[in-house]
Symmetry: D2
Subunit: 306 residues, 4 copies
């Protein structure tokens, strides 16, 4: 099957750019609210090494929750299945920052991709890393094969000052003894990982190891076992887009992960990764244009895991 | 890749039969509680037409919730995407018969594979079929290529008499105007579809159309479009095993559907279907041995959609 | 303290009649929706035997949930504290017909004044009465000293046909084995008790036994022990007005009970009872004018239990 | 009615002391867990100025949530009904430190006597007081007519270090903009008010103003209007004992307030106040012996507001 990805991306771009203006840029982090809403880019990166672009695919943006996958990879590789004693692997059926289930489930988050679970993941990292901010940066730069990736301190600090919901989640879980490190240190690391600036190209490349059985194609280093890789993909499939995970699976059939910065990345195992970015979100907190673009991509290419 | 499915099934059977006795047969339906708990069978059916068996793979059992997929196929084919105005496509994060989310979400079930959604599905069928019990039977017999499949009236009537929870769900949804037909008629049809008696072989064959892009391989009739087929598989992936759907996806990486009769069916698109049956359930209501057997199957064969 | 109740009622009536038109008549029972919304009456009945009226105080209306107190009295007297094994005595914090707490609390309603608890109460009555509809009528006629009180069959049947929410509650509780009689028989009795037609005068008189230590002042028969009487009053104080019980206690300081027919009755122990009626409800399902009238009554008279 | 309160207290003490050892001292604050569990005292203080004691009625203990009433009085007097825009007046139906309702109700606590509401109350105080810790102390000393009342810094600091649940509540409400001051400052004041050391005698005296129409009987200063006093009593009646408020109203018929230090105070308007203390708690977090003692007190004296 020979697919002309470039034409495909061009078509999708034309068909969806009319949706710009219909969503709403995330405003709960002041520094994010200032982003130009009219930006839109897509990048496809194949395991054979080709890269295809359209629009603002090379503009770095705040990756936000997409960072949850990187940190989870780091601690899953280091700690193995022991991490699952502290968080589950089930969809939550709730929004990304809900506290309700945490209360009935004794401070154990449903999965690592809701905020509560991601905070536990970051807490795990703090327990095994002396310099977590540096380690994350090295990890992500190697994945994306780009040594210029960095944190946006303005966004990170803006989040620290307004991040009362995540502080609530951390304190709540600590009251159940499910946070081991200092609440403010976990929060600081978390706000920084969310404030990583990466372009569609960076992200598409950085997720290639999940399409590639756990091996970083840029340096051939294995980061996860084959089994761990499959499991991470399965988790993204069931939990990657908050309470729109089912909808995303239904419409695209792909494992993926989104962030409130407007990025969505999806993985087609053994073939390619694709990242779309447009800052305006739908009511579930996922990029409005991005959701449509990825649905069109699977429709037009006929690619599906099912 | 040449896999010796027969040896694989034999191995799995040997490695897991020691788990018999560790679960609990469903006791909320009196007629089901009498089933011999020590039965255990597996059947693989490939799209090339080969069938492999081990154990009690030809013994008919009560398929229970596995029937939800058949009825959903019928109404999805007939009514298209209009059915989604009456039920969602998201994991519920709750147990199969919970009413909680229904209340906050105005009587619209999260997805068609929790009981509430399956009852709406059956209500849809009643609105388009003059003889739903006959139509279901014809549909399933054609799928499984077995004209002897039938309802177990004892189980169906046993369920009718003890089915207060489902009667509550139906009345509750009707109070939100999301049930159009008579509550007792919907309940009667639902209890009968759950009481279909099929063997592992029957079920593996009957699900082949979902591995086969929507076409029944036994008569080459298209039942669903390719897109509908993918979407049904995605739904099974995210919602097929109640509040253990994430765990099943994590461990097997496959779309599947379980029933409290102890059956679990899984689909490997474009390749095969597999059905396991053992009546003893884990605490989430899924076959304890079946869960393990399917995890082993993907581990041993290396088959995965990810 | 000599209070001129008549002048007081006249003042209240004048000061509050301007609120007519600001609420909404209950529309979930078709027969109730047809009531003339502009009716408004108040009746005070003292333990010394005086009765004071203003407005439509002699017009019978559908007492609805006010009936819950009568039936609870009947079964509390007959069965004693054993009834509390089947329902609690705590405010629910939820609306009158919520199913949510029932699920987490295994089918045991929070208190006898939410619908679920009232249905359990009626189920208790069915277990001890051969002719519950006749027994209720005799009981209430004696309390109100009015042998013409009767059921409105049109309202009762209208409720039976549209009462899917209560049917859901009954079936749900039966699935937890907390309903002993036939669901439809319980529902029929419940719909009839709610459809009792009584005027403000009837209700004020009928509640006198609760201001009078448990003794019906019209025939000097003891219906409840002194201790049971206090406890019923305490229950009304904490749970009598659904999820507005706290607000009512805060504003009036009195035990009371409301119904969606627009009636609210309040009790001043050892002194008097007062019943207000106006069909238009606020968003919590309590009479909008009635709430204000009772607040004014305690403000103007300075009467309070605190 | 001449009641021999001293004999009554002696009787109650004898009849209930056998319950010592059946509860569990609060262990979530380390410094509280070290309290000798076998202490037990009762004090009755009448508006006529008599004081009756039994047991350890003069031993100071940590008043914990009983302090919520004092701080609420201070801000209710200063800010009037405007405080109700930030918290409700309804029973919550949940345990004292639940976050669940806060999420669905946008960070507005149900009432001022659950932790969330008390934290909002303390936040109100910080907005109007330059030295809240000093102001609270002056207020309480005047109420109890005891200038030696003070904070237990060990308990206060112990709470600060382990108070992750309250830190979660504060951050959560701040994320809804319902906390105006610094989270740590509110928490520090709150932990200190909870760590006030008072004896049964102190507390019985200090609550006299609520039996006395809002006037401190020791200096004849009005602290609340008559109407505010009634309303505070009504609030205690419906919400004073967490999710056992209905049970307490049912069994004693009195407005009251409890703390996890093992104290419970109850008010009989126009007559007296009574405070019981015994550190062992029942499963709802209220003094096990105290609940029984107060029920006996109303049974033996026949005193009731109903």
């Amino acid at each position: 099957m020979d697919i002309d990805y470039q034409s495909c991306l061009n078509e999708i771009y034309e068909e969806t750019k009319g949706l710009l203006g219909k969503g709403k840029v995330a405003d709960y982090i002041p520094a994010l609210a200032e982003v130009d809403p009219n930006q839109y880019g897509i990048c496809v990166h194949t395991l054979e090494g080709q890269t295809y672009y359209v629009g603002d695919a090379k503009t770095p943006f705040s990756i936000q929750s997409i960072s949850k996958v990187f940190v989870l990879s780091m601690v899953f590789a280091a700690l193995g299945d022991s991490i699952w004693s502290r968080m589950g692997r089930e969809p939550s059926g709730s929004s990304f920052n809900s506290l309700v289930l945490l209360e009935t489930e004794n401070g154990k988050p449903r999965n690592p991709f809701i905020n509560a679970g991601a905070l536990v993941t970051t807490d795990c990292l703090l327990s095994i890393s002396k310099n977590p901010l540096k380690d994350i940066l090295v990890y992500v730069r190697n994945l994306a094969n780009n040594k210029y990736i960095n944190y946006d301190s303005v966004v990170a600090n803006s989040e620290m000052e307004t991040n009362f919901r995540n502080a609530a989640l951390l304190n709540f879980m600590k009251s159940f003894s499910n946070i081991n490190n200092d609440v403010n240190e976990v929060l600081n690391t978390y706000c920084h990982q969310c404030a990583l600036m990466m372009s569609c190209e960076d992200i598409a490349k950085a997720f290639s190891y999940l399409a590639n059985g756990g091996i970083n194609p840029f340096n051939n280093k294995r980061l996860l076992t084959l089994s761990q890789t499959k499991r991470l993909n399965a988790l993204m499939q069931t939990c990657g887009l908050y309470d729109e995970s089912g909808e995303f699976a239904f419409c695209t059939g792909l494992p993926g992960k989104s962030g409130v910065g407007g990025g969505i990345v999806a993985i087609i195992p053994k073939l390619l990764t694709i990242c779309v970015w447009s800052p305006e979100l739908n009511k579930h907190g996922n990029s409005l244009v991005g959701m449509k673009a990825l649905e069109l991509f699977t429709t037009k290419t006929g690619i599906s895991i099912f």
